[in-house]
């Protein structure tokens, strides 16, 4: 088994003084794709934001080792530069900052060197094609006027361009119709490989039909309560989260 790209031990996180994560343990070997499932309010998105370094999430205990370094010791931008990526559930709109300007600035920051305008445009066009991202959006302002599906494609496009070592996909399937879900999943699958580990956070099993996980974890009440193979997703699909005291289903009706 490859060395873990990400090791989380006893992670505790509070938001506005309220404890949300109460001791998360998780290890993901490089190159593997893990799924993190759980009902609403179990702490999945909190884990995602805490790992990415959002200042509103207070780390109150535990440790996170990323590619051999202390992730929690880094600022959000340093985490990205170290190869960590978060595809957000709700990407924000940033007025006046164009998609191209943003992508170029981010790419230069992550690579630590200026990419030539020509090489940049080539990369942008290539990855836009992969994700069927409308390249005419390049002059638009960040996420402004994007549909839910366009925002998600744009998140994965960024991932494809920045080439992280590890990515967390937070509810990437929410708000996507089946066609868009297929495109995004194909994009993720094409990036998948020995140099990219991933954690797919999802409430529903739907996306896991397109991106097959190596390992499935179940989160409940701020910690990881069960870990298993892909068959665990099928079990949740059939039974929902009843076993964990939640009446929520894990299958989308009609999906």
């Amino acid at each position: 088994m490859a060395d873990p790209i990400l090791t989380i031990e006893g992670l505790e996180v509070a938001v506005d003084g309220k404890p949300i994560l109460t001791g998360v343990d998780l290890a993901i070997p490089q190159g593997e794709v893990h799924a993190l499932m759980g009902p609403n309010g179990s702490g999945k998105s909190t884990l995602a934001y805490a790992l990415a370094g959002h200042p509103r999430y207070d780390i109150t205990g535990g440790s996170v080792t990323f590619n051999g370094a202390d992730l929690l010791d880094m600022e959000a931008d340093e985490r990205a530069q170290a190869g960590f990526f978060l595809a957000m559930q709700y990407p924000v709109e940033v007025p006046g900052v164009s998609v191209l300007n943003f992508l170029r600035t981010a790419l230069n920051a992550v690579r630590g060197e200026e990419i030539s305008p020509r090489a940049f445009m080539k990369l942008f066009q290539e990855k836009s094609k992969l994700l069927e991202f409308d390249a005419s959006f390049s002059d638009r302002y960040l996420n402004e006027g994007f549909s839910g599906g366009e925002k998600k494609r744009h998140e994965i496009l960024q991932m494809a361009m920045l080439e992280p070592k590890f990515a967390v996909l937070d509810e990437t399937d929410s708000g996507l119709d089946v066609d868009a879900l297929k495109v995004v999943s194909n994009g993720v699958n094409s990036l998948r490989g020995p140099d990219l580990g991933a954690l797919i956070i999802t409430h529903y099993t739907r996306i896991l039909k397109y991106i097959t996980p190596d390992v499935v974890h179940v989160m409940y009440d701020g910690r990881v309560v069960r870990t298993g193979g892909p068959e665990l997703a099928d079990e949740l699909e059939a039974n929902g989260y009843a076993e964990y005291g939640s009446a929520e289903p894990a299958a989308v009706s009609g999906a």
Binding site: H54, A76, A80, F102, A106, V110, L142
Partner: protein, 408 residues
Amino acid sequence: MADAAPAWAAEARATATANLETLPELTGQEEAWRFTPPASLGLGGAEPSGGAATAAVAAAEGGTRSARLALVDGAPAAPELGELPAGVIVAELGQALIDHEDLVRSRLYSLIGFADRPGALNAAHWEGGTFVYVPKGVELAIPTETLLTATGATGRVNARTLIIVEEGAKATVIDRFVSPDLAGPVAVSTAAELIVMPGGELEHLSLVQWGHGVRHHARITASAHKDAKVRSVVVTLGGDVVRVEATMVASGPGSDSRALGLYFADGDQHFEHRIVSRHEAPQAYSNLLYKGALKDTAHTVFFGNLVVPPGAPGTDAYQTNRNLVLNEGARADTIPFLEIETAEVKCSHAGAVGRVDDDHLFYLRSRGVPEDVAKRLIVVGFLQEVLEHVKLEELRHELEAAVAEKLA
């Protein structure tokens, strides 16, 4: 120059000078002056005295101009003329009093007079200025630019601009204000009268880029006649104390007046923008949009007013002011105002002061963009809404760079 000026011009100057003697000093107690003490602009208080001149400012190269005029310390000088379409006049205003009396006489002081103290001060003392005349139906496609500089040799610098765009004509005119950092206080007074006749179009840009030591009181008044389009863009970046009063007058129905502004104050700069849209005719459109960023201990004031007197039904008027405060200690005041005395109008106003959104900052940083670069992107992005209205690309890039420099 004054000796050769026609009698009516000499008379106007004499009246302005007399008004200065008789009008009471501004104290700062006046409602319109409560945010910016008049003395801080050199309007009253001790007379600013000049010192040693620093090296003159090199003229900005920038893009292609159809004419350039450089007024050092406000002294008159001959313009450098490129190829102008037939009938277009670009001249130094003092010279135009003599050479183009028929065009100037009825319009000079028609929008900015000398009945009040700041008006009288400018009218009594200006020597150099800009005169642009575009005859009926002619398009002056390439902009003209006047560079007013201060060297510190004189304590007072005055200048005036008069632009006349005749029926169906078009022009773009830039008034740029530049100096190096100066030791002594220099008080600058400028007045720009913009007259756009029926169906004419004018874009006027005021670029305030003074160094330290300069205080500037700027007045801009535009009159848009029937179906005319006027756009005033004000960019305030430099100067210790700057007060800009821009008034857009809808003089004819169907006119379209836009006042766009952006400012970025840092250090202990103090900027006040008083922007008024006055609808003297029915069925006219106006839109005021000013956006500002500020940091350190800077203070900015925006006062906006939509004035719709009786008899202007069908008025369609908007004003918006938004401010981005980058740190504790900087302060932005915004006062959007309405004076509406006509029914059946569509008017809206909004003023806001906010900080950099944590979620915007996090989003950019989560993609590897360092904090300082992310803030720069956000601030330039915030001002983009105004910058994107600057049609001249080379100028837009220059202004973006100037904003970014303040964030460095």
